[in-house]
Amino acid sequence: MREPTLWILHILAGIIILIFLGIHMGIMHLDTILTSLGVGYKNPLSWSSVLIRNKALFFTITYILLLGAALYHGFYGLRNILFELSLGKSAQKAVNWLLFFVGLFLFIYGGYAAIAAYVI
């Protein structure tokens, strides 16, 4: 893909992360404040809360979406930083392929966990 396309995807992934990681952070780390406002639930890390999220299709789909967006956004950012260190062409290609395959593996692994949690 051309560099401008990769950059636009980086920004779009950032917007997706902003929305869904914002929801995730709110549920996980602002739970007492949100429940006092009548939103969300307490003890989000308890097994009963985990089960509720596991079995909600909204969370399964958005976890996979967030996983893909975050892996792309994070690895593209890392690639930008690495490319700044005056890497040669062959090293740049090696970084591209390494990040692609590591990202693909993590997407399949995390996606499998989200689907398995929903199905089991």
């Binding site: 893909m1 051309r2 560099e3 920004i11 950032g14 917007i15 902003l18 990681l21 914002g22 952070m25 780390h29 602002l30 739970d31 007492t32 404040i33 890390l45 097994w47 985990v50 596991n54 996983l67 975050a70 994070g74 690895f75 950012g77 890392l78 930083i81 490319f83 700044e84 260190l85 005056s86 062409k89 740049q92 290609k93 591209n96 993590l106 692994y109 995390g110 966990a113 398995a116 949690a117 089991i120």
Partner: protein
Amino acid sequence: MANGTISKPENRLGIVGWFYAGSFSFERYAYILHRITGLGILLYFLLHIFGSSARISGQSSWESLMHFLGKPIFVAGEYLVFIAFCFHAMNGIRLILGELGFSIGKPGRPVYPYRISLNRQRPLLVVFMIIAVIFILLGGYDFFIAGH
């Protein structure tokens, strides 16, 4: 430019140049912090993929992992990640607004007194940093006061 590779001038300063390469503005320090928080969040996220996957192994393995991660050192580390997220998200919104041209202003003739885009961008950065601090404080309340 070959596909997937980029030609750039030699980066002689390397990572040292992130921290000082001349007179840096407030925005430049936000840029460095954006990188550092981004790398920190990425590292946490990669571990988080494996950690959160423990939920498919059943209640006992989930609860033993949560018991292990409930130690104060991990809670403090998690709060650092929360701080990094608040900063990275708020600064990221500012960067996207700049990217889309909202904080740049319309081009005009250079007539005295000159108006520069920094006149718009600096207040924007200050506003987003204030919002980030509010979220960081709310998170701190939830992490260390209300949650325990």
